[in-house]
Symmetry: C2
DNA sequence: AAAGATTATTCAATAAATTGAGTATAAGAT
DNA sequence: ATCTTATACTCAATTTATTGAATAATCTTT
């Protein structure tokens, strides 16, 4: 389980409240951290408490005037040491769990239109994500040579996001034509939903 | 949770034992289903029992002479109907949980070599996966136009795997040079591990 | 003949993730 | 003045996933 380490990885360069962290883990706009790790706000708050109890994090209460007060978490020396140790460990390739592909695999059970519509929706979502990532790139990473070490690594994860979304789009463009054509030998000239 | 549906999706075109299913969900060689959904054998056996209890699956005991007996599961009419219903539902984009990218994000905390070595290992793993997928493509999907509907959809998921791995390789090739160069303004000429 | 690998499956403890409700402050909109 | 939205966080029930141990038959290797 890497959620605690994912939290540490962010906090180590940007101390934040649970609320801010949750946004970075869930929104594709803010921080783009959600691209490589996602977690619900309940998960994050629970984990922050655990990490504080283990003294890997320390919290500072911040009074605010225009909003509710909050607690800003920062990584302790111990936390940083634990994070470094974890980074050095060997990790497995990330496993994928993709509902769309499961559905596509069994796509022969439903109408072509059902699948095509789904693919069109997802294509647009990936397109939008890509646009966001490219926006971030052009705004904050205009000159990659001049980045600090910290930002250099963040830039690399952003590039991964861009390649990921580009890969999706290329795939959509390759398979869409396969779906729209009805082949003469397919014995399926009337749009029936069965094989 | 889509594990029950992922199981149904496979069984609907290929009735199998739990053991065979588990292999398809875990190995990148056998069936390539593990590319888009992964599950442990314990998870699969538990789910098979649940699905049988709900009558979405029916099992047939098969006596074998050269191996232990087994139970072959097949999807019932009810199971097929439930699967179709689920496919028609709207699904979210798959969320990603990638340890490597978390570690890369915090890569500034460790030595460059630590990161470079990791990336080289992963690059090779993705290269190998791609080779497997391309092997499957050239063996079983030589002539995409002539595929049955069922195989056409399996082919599309295979293509997704190929695009995915290709995207990883392109990314590795883009970022590796960024890591190996020490910039004159980086104030880090001696390979120290800190920022 | 014994040891290890492969096939085939079950059980149980623990950890983690999901879902849903709930609390509270304050800003802005209708 | 009330409704909605945003900020900020907590608790608890349920479901899922992970981890580890077992059982048992057969085949292969030493």
């Amino acid at each position: 389980m890497s959620l605690p380490y994912a939290i540490l990885s962010i906090l180590v360069s940007a101390p934040s409240s649970g609320y801010d962290l949750a946004k970075r883990f869930n929104s594709s706009v803010e921080g783009s951290v959600g691209f490589f790790w996602s977690a619900s706000f309940q998960q994050i708050y629970r984990e922050l408490n655990r990490l504080e109890a283990k003294a890997w994090l320390q919290a500072e209460a911040v009074q605010q005037e225009n909003r509710p007060d909050k607690r800003i978490y920062a990584v302790t020396a111990l936390g940083k040491q634990q994070l470094c140790q974890w980074i050095a460990e060997v990790e497995e390739m990330a496993s994928i769990k993709d509902e769309l592909l499961v559905k596509l695999y069994a796509g022969h059970l439903v109408s072509r239109q059902t699948i095509v519509t789904k693919l069109e929706v997802h294509r647009q979502q990936h397109q939008q994500r890509l646009a966001i990532y490219q926006e971030i790139k052009s705004l904050y990473f205009k000159n990659p040579q001049a980045l600090s070490k910290t930002h250099q690594f963040q830039y690399m994860t952003l590039l991964r996001g861009i390649h990921y979304e580009t890969g999706w789009l290329a795939w959509f463009d390759e398979i869409m034509p396969l779906l729209q054509v009805t082949h003469p030998d397919s014995a399926d000239l009337f749009g029936r939903s069965q094989n």
